[in-house]
Symmetry: C2
Subunit: 420 residues, 2 copies
């Protein structure tokens, strides 16, 4: 039986596995986590709106109905292309076809001082850690008599005005002004600041100009300080340093300014392009290795003169394509080159407010907000997860309450020292 | 204004705070966590049935409507009774009246080898860690070719047949045989064993004989091996050692055999009785310190010749009593001694099956099960938490699916090495 190995169960890996189910193949999927994560909603976990469990779905539950698909939870350390072996921390696995879909990691562009101090939003742990931190700085501010130190604790710096930065800024603003302001009656919320820093001259680069301007106005109307053409050059304990020399006293820097290929990409010995991504052929295979496909954030492919972006929709379309390509190879058929069809971009800003460009149509305000909610619910895996998220959103909409305001400890240890 | 400090927001502290709200006092509650935890459902978090967030409720949300109550998240290090000061890691707080309700901790009776390896169920972190571990040993067993090592991975030893042990054993059995058996089609679940070890000659000591026998029969019918008169003397990596010399190969020992007062009790310099509990006067105050009350798992009081048990209902009644006693002291009134009224005990065993002795009436089976569910929902704090738990239970009842089968990482680090 033909053996296919898929590494990674993100948006690309899941689509590839589903398309290969029931085709008479022996498909093994490998991931170091036992769940598929819906990353686009991580920022809602970080802002106390959703339980972490509601945006993760067990891989084994996912594949139960998929014929011929097995799962192994393992860390992949490399690939031996000659011997067609995937190397694991605890063994190795042979393949006839390989689909590498190990995803991406946050890119700090060599800013070590930022990397050591910044929060990011790639994994569940990151989101929970950021939630714990936000609630913790409010607890610390509540007992801090010194005004300057209190204001630094209540200043949140978000780097990059892409969808993650915009959505997180809006959600944090709502958390602070609707919910934490009532949790901490002794604090003056005017001392709290949210800064959204963007190196370029506009928020949300992929959407049209008028949507960018709408987003900026809405965020500023909510109280977020949007600073365009502003670059971060470093961080130290209690401060963020800008390229123009400005020092922003703050204990929270949230970094969503860059994505690079998973560190695993560097272990493959394949030629790499920008952001550590592996350069692939037009059919997503490696040059000279027609049995190996690389998809999603790991893959670098130029279409119409522009590299494909590192976003979920590219990964999903590539996952489906790679599965089709494997099936075609087995039959000896040819496949036309991969083409990405851009269905659109969207970002939620706040209550009843979003921007979207979907299938060429631009939308703002309430209608865009409903479209955003609907599409995110549709793509969330698992009936129960959809129900939980929908309930949370409905609850939040009516009661304006982000309920998961918990500082959870890890492994039964006390939370990160509150006094430091 | 009279200053009351309450240390600990468990079942006792919450009841005391609520009873002191709106009485014209300045009440400060202190806890090292920012949430009240519904411990009786921790075992359902550990067995993938409930999200951890659904059994925790933010203290600041709880006290929002309670007049005169403030909260400070802090670790208490001691009390200066002379100067009437509570010492914190990061400061100190003065009081006129003090209610100590810092709860209990797991008691390993000096079995260090067990303490180093055993899982427990006192905090959210414990439950999540145990869930991660259970799912992890199944992942490891799935790729373990050696039968003996595989069986050791799939053997779960639960120590003590009290309510926690009985409920956890039943829930684990259901998780394994309804859910994990489908997640791991390559594993033979006959290789999995659950042992419930009890040092005495019956399960659930506080309930009548016939309920004890019913519980044992039900558990054995489900496949749990119940061993009475069986004592654990130690543990090593991969094995549990019994007093009679038996060695049980197992990677999982869950310890619910004992509770002792919070380690904070040892820092107070007050005379202590069994299990590190502080001996209190009949009105729950300290001898010679009429302004200091100790309640719940921290307090030792004999009633009708028997020490009061370390259970939630004692803590709740003592919390309400302590609040009344403080109000009486302020007015110069006397209070009658505290008397615990035992409303009953109950334990769920499995689907449609529980045992209960409530208000003197004994029940088994479906009716006891409904009573158990109702009472636990009633005592769970927060409308949304109740809704979430109810939905989870309904979902589980219909679909027989424990949905939270997630191995979550902590702080964005990969999960505990899977290969070790």
């Amino acid at each position: 039986m033909t053996r296919v190995v898929i590494v990674g169960m993100g948006f690309g890996g899941v689509r590839a596995a589903r398309a290969l189910a029931g085709k008479g193949l022996d498909v093994l999927i490998i991931d170091r986590r036992n769940y598929h994560l819906f990353q686009p909603l991580l920022y809602q976990v970080a802002t106390s709106s959703l339980e972490e469990e509601s945006i993760a779905y067990p891989v084994r539950a996912l594949i139960r109905g998929w014929k011929g698909i097995r799962f192994r939870m393992a860390e992949v350390t490399g690939v031996d292309f000659e011997r067609r072996l995937v190397r694991l921390v605890d063994g190795e696995v042979e393949y006839d076809y390989l689909i590498m879909a190990a995803g991406g990691a946050t890119h700090f562009f060599g800013l070590d001082s930022v990397e050591q101090r910044a929060f990011q939003l790639k994994g569940l742990g990151h989101a929970v850690r950021l939630r714990n931190h936000i609630l913790n700085v409010f607890e610390r501010a509540d007992r801090e008599p010194d005004g300057e130190r209190r204001r630094a604790l209540l200043t949140f710096v978000i780097v990059c005005g892409g969808p993650t930065g915009v959505e997180f800024a809006g959600a944090l603003e709502e958390l602070i002004h609707h919910e934490l302001s009532r949790d901490f009656p002794g604090l003056d919320m005017k001392e709290s600041r949210i800064l959204l820093l963007e190196a370029r001259d506009a928020l949300l680069p992929p959407v049209p100009r008028e949507l960018q301007q709408y987003s900026r106005k809405r965020l500023e109307g909510m109280g977020v300080e949007v600073r365009l053409n502003t670059q971060v050059k470093g961080a130290e304990d209690g401060a963020v340093l800008l390229a123009d020399g400005t020092v922003i006293p703050s204990h929270t820097i949230v970094w969503s300014a860059g994505v690079q290929a998973s560190p695993l990409a560097a272990e493959l010995g394949a030629p790499r392009a920008a952001n550590g991504r592996i350069a692939v052929q037009p059919d997503l295979s490696l040059a000279g290795r027609t049995e190996v496909f690389v998809i999603g954030d790991m893959a670098f492919l130029v279409q119409d003169g522009t590299p494909l972006p590192m976003v979920a929709s590219v990964a999903m379309q590539q996952g489906e394509y790679a599965a089709r390509a494997v099936l075609a190879r087995i039959k000896g058929d040819a496949v036309p080159p991969f083409r990405y069809y851009d269905k659109g971009t969207m970002a939620i800003i706040g209550r009843n407010s979003a921007v979207a460009k979907v299938f060429g149509v631009t939308m703002t305000g309430f209608f865009a907000w409903v479209v955003w909610l609907t599409i995110h619910l549709m793509f969330l895996v698992g009936f129960r997860n959809r129900l939980l998220v929908l309930l949370n959103w409905a609850y939040y909409y009516y009661f304006r309450a982000q309920q998961v305001r918990l500082i959870t400890d890890d492994n039964g240890k006390p939370p990160e020292a509150c006094g430091t």
